[in-house]
């Protein structure tokens, strides 16, 4: 069988508050091999400079809604990595 070239997904990653400071960016684009998950996005972020300041399992959102690490990501998704919430 011929190997199928893996498709890739590109997502827009948003960072906030202390996480934005840690990685020195408010947003970046990441391209991952498909299938990819929210947890996979986090893993890639943690490999970047400053990325070890992110916890292994931060709160995340996909397209404006809270998302588990296992949730699949699709090309064009907006993935937000959320520091501990402090509203109210």
């Amino acid at each position: 069988m011929a190997a199928i070239a893996p498709a890739s997904v590109t997502v827009r990653v948003l960072l906030f508050a202390s996480y934005a400071e840690s990685l020195g960016a408010d947003s970046l684009d990441l391209t991952l091999s498909s299938p990819a998950t929210v947890g996979g996005v986090v893993e890639r972020l943690r490999a970047l400079p400053g990325g070890r300041l992110l916890p292994p399992k931060p709160l995340c959102a996909r397209n404006l809604a809270h998302a588990d690490a296992a949730e699949p990501v699709t090309d064009g998704d907006e993935i937000a990595v959320l520091p501990p919430l402090a509203g109210g």
């Binding site: 948003l14 906030f16 508050a17 202390s18 959102a61 404006l64 809604a65 809270h66 937000a80 959320l82 520091p83 501990p84 919430l85 402090a86 509203g87 109210g88």
Partner: protein, 141 residues
């Protein structure tokens, strides 16, 4: 009305938004900026948010509460620079039923704290600045 506001929260306007002749009981919660946090004197603070998601999450919380209880909810969270004593968040729940008004009001403020992507940067009297982490505060308490 937007759930997020850069200016002062008008609690009376939130009341007006949910008052109705058949809703005799109105429960409200207002969260004010305190002058201390874990024993440190706070001078002022700044709230920031993931705006579009914060709006969406507030809308979901309100819709869930209005589906679960016989109640109309008004909710607003302030962003930007706040001084001690400023209202940071307000929830108003109006109902024909007192139980529903209290239960929904309490539920909404808890869900806002748990789910809405808002962050708080505190400026202390000793010159330091920190992002507030309520989960760390709980461990230390």
């Amino acid at each position: 009305m937007s759930y997020l506001t850069a200016g002062p929260i008008d609690v009376a306007a939130l009341h007006s938004a949910v008052h109705a002749p058949d809703r005799g009981g109105v429960a409200a919660f207002v969260g004010l900026v305190r002058d201390h946090h874990q024993g440190r004197a706070v001078l002022r603070l700044e709230y920031s948010a993931y705006g579009p998601m914060a709006e969406a999450e507030c809308a979901r919380i309100v819709a869930e509460a209005e589906a679960r209880w016989r109640v109309a909810i008004a909710l607003q969270h302030r962003l930007g620079a706040l001084a001690i004593g400023d209202a940071a968040v307000a929830v108003v729940a109006a109902s024909a039923h007192r139980d529903d008004a209290f239960a929904a009001c309490r539920h909404v403020i808890e869900e806002v704290k748990r789910r809405v992507p808002v962050w708080k940067r505190e400026y202390y009297a000793d010159g330091t600045v920190a992002w507030v982490d309520p989960t760390a505060a709980m461990q230390h308490a």
